[in-house]
Every structure is written in C-alpha cells, then in structure tokens.
Symmetry: C2
Amino acid sequence: MPRRPSKAELEFLRTYNADEFPHPSVSVDVALLTARGDALEVFLVRRTEHPYKNDWSLPGGFVQLEESLEDAAARLLEAKTGLREVFLEQLYTFGAVGRDPRTRVISVAYYALVPLEQLAKLTVSDARGLMPVTEALQTALAFDHNAILERTLDRLRGRVEYSPIGFELLPTQFTLRELQTLHETILGKKLNKDAFRRKILARGQLEATGELEVGMGFRPAEYYRHARSGKAG
Amino acid sequence: MPRRPSKAELEFLRTYNADEFPHPSVSVDVALLTARGDALEVFLVRRTEHPYKNDWSLPGGFVQLEESLEDAAARLLEAKTGLREVFLEQLYTFGAVGRDPRTRVISVAYYALVPLEQLAKLTVSDARGLMPVTEALQTALAFDHNAILERTLDRLRGRVEYSPIGFELLPTQFTLRELQTLHETILGKKLNKDAFRRKILARGQLEATGELEVGMGFRPAEYYRHARSGKAG
DNA sequence: CAAATAGTGTCTGTTAGACACTATCAC
DNA sequence: GTGATAGTGTCTAACAGACACTATTTG
C-alpha cells in the first residue's frame, strides 16, 4: 500500500465522516480446541448478559478501532484463558442479518489449537470451561456458534489430511499412536497403523526424540516431536 | 439459533444502543476472474474518489445493515458488471488497521468466477474493464487489493487440485484441451495430457456432449460440459 | 511364560506419469 | 500424403491398505 497523498486527498480525508450512515458492528469469536485423551474439547463461556443470557458461547468480543482482527482474537483469547502464542487461524466470517438479535453484528471467526497441558492452570467454573465437542454440538450454543464450531471441525479435518496438525493439540512430545488416535478422532474413522506411520514420517515434519514411554504394560513407543519446535537436542 | 426471548431480554434489547462506541466499518470487495484464451483476467474499476483516486481497484462497497455479506457481494457485482448468479465464494477477511486511510474499514473479500462470454455485454472503458492477472499483480492496486488478488489465486490453485473448477471460467461447452490449458495457467505448470484426461473424467463431473470442434486444422476434440449444468441433452 | 503394543517387511490394488500407438481433421 | 492434435492402451513408479511377522515391554 504505497501511499502518496495529494493535497486534494488530504483535504478529503480531513472532512471525511465515517459515521454518516449506520454500520454493522464487527466482533471476533474464537473456537479454542484441545484434546483430552482421544476426545476433542472446546472452550466455552457462559453468557452473563442478554441476549442468550446463561447460554454457552464461544469466547468473543467486539473489534476495537485500533487493533487488527488477529490481534483482537489473540487479545480475547488471552483475556478469557490467559493463553498466549497459541495456534490461531482465521476461519470464516459470519454475516447473516439476524445472527445477533441486538443489532447487526458481523463476526470474524477464528479457531485456536492448544495442548491440554497449557490449559492446566485455567480456572474452570460453572461459567467457563471445556466441553467435549460432541456434547457441545448437541447443545444449543448462543448465536450461530454451533455453525462456527462445525466449520472449525470441517477445517480441522481438511488440515489433518495434509499435515500432522494434531501436534498443535498434543504435548510437546507424543507417540505416533497418540497422534494417530487423535487423527482418528478428528476424522471420525479408523486409520491404518502402517500407512499412518509411513505417511506421517515421510513428510519429514516429525523427529524422533530417542526417548521411550514408560510403564505402559507393553512395549513402549518412542516419543516424537514436531521438527519446528526447535528445542536443541 | 432457536430464540426464546424472555421479558428481561426483550427489555434489554429495547434499550440497547448499538452506537455507544466507534465501530470499524465493513466493506465487501470482489475479485472477479475470467479466462481469455489461456490467460486469467480480473475485473477492475478505476477509483473516482479519494483515497487512491484514479487507481485501479477491485469492485467493492460497504455492507448495508439489512443485507448478508454474500448478498452484499452479489449486489455489488451486479451493480458494476450486470452479472447475476455467478460462482461466488467468500475468500478471507482483511482487517489490518491501516488498510484504508479514511477510517477503520474491515473488508470481507469474495472471489467470483465467470465465463468470458457472459462479460461480452460488459461496457469496458478507461474506468472499468478486464486486466490480465499477471499485469494486475504488477500494478499498484488501491488499498490491499494486490493481497486480495494474490490470495484469490492461491485459493483457485487449491480448488483446482480437487475439482475441475475451471469450467466456471469457461463457456458452457469446452474441450478437455481448453480445460487442461486453463488448469495449466492457474497452476503455472504443464500437466500430463493422459493423466489429466483420466483424472478429470474419473471424477464423473463432466459429461460428453457428442459435439465436435470445427475448423481447427487438426482432429477436432469433443465438447464436454459440467454435469450439473442440467441442460437436457 | 502370556498379553499387548511397537515397529518392519512385503504383497496388492489404485493411480499418476510416460510413452506409444491409432484416429481424424485441414490442407 | 503431411502436420497437428484427439483419444486409447499399456508399462512403470509411487503409494496406501492389508497382513504377517518380529521386537520389546509389564507382570
């Protein structure tokens, strides 16, 4: 965006009135997912105000004038969960006219992925906490948040086909069995052990740590980690 | 969104003031692509007002209170091109703080695909018309429209891997060679003729028309059409 | 030892690339 | 006939699924 404002343009900007006509408002909603065992869970907040008072909702809020959309999503996520620097990606923008009964609100939805261990310090209460995704989908969430959650899972299914994105939801170190089980949960189908192992390793994104599971009652698997997690040796 | 407004909620909504604090504005920008020969072209409009006066831009405009995002995109597209019922899909939402020098404007970008023949009636002038995509990318477009165009091409490349989406850009009937050439243009690489033919036909989305090219100077190819174009054959 | 899973080797079916070949038009 | 492309058949390489087998732990 190379700007070279002319005199006429500067005058135009000086007299520009942004509020000549009513605008839709813009909010950001974040679907934060994690994995507990082999189940996906989503972070929900119980609404304390109308509309949808007392219903579960995705954490969200209005975009401020001086922050980008991604900054807004990160800000909201930190405010509600204390998390910083998690995987965060824009999902879709929901703009149906009646999606918010207060006024016209357009919501830019993001989704975030985080290992459960990072949520350990999270204060869970009746007002906020993790709910299994399968349960959340059967719950009437506030606004169109069921649709946002469904689209998040669609996106996750698509991503999983091309990259072992599951590690975003797992601890730093994990066995291939754990990763496979997670992928099976996301995709909703069983995967072939041999093929999964070969495909995942062939991508070269995972590296063996040399460490083994302990106390499993059977042959321990080796721990792997994502190659980009650049912890030396 | 099953609503069951309580008395308290109705009172809340009655007194809700949507304009308590300044909002970002929301616009929609549309990247309309078509194919001329084996080159992609994009529809651009020359801006008549500040900012970026006289620069080329994607057609766009503000979202009205009572229309959905997709409705807004379709409305704008029809207003600037006269086109209706074209392929239209949400691309991404651009919300950097400084992307519009007037005020904070968040743009929900859409992209549209249309055969060149449907643009035949389009009034082309110094102020609006088609520009080859390669040229547009080297031109300084208004706002962040270069980024929108680049992301559109990324999306198109991704789509082409999974469906013969090229027919959205071609006339109703087309030969497999035309479709292949278009895919090669989009992907920027040569494709194998035999493999392309098998892969595309195996998807079962194209049907042969029985009609042949004429006057090609070589063996004429058969015309195909997309199976969903339900012209009784 | 048994039980259970880790990890590897191999066969098979599918698919894309490569190549060769025949078919059909304009000239 | 020549030149050019359409369209098909077949071989091959890559790869995923399936299965079998060995390896390694706990108890």
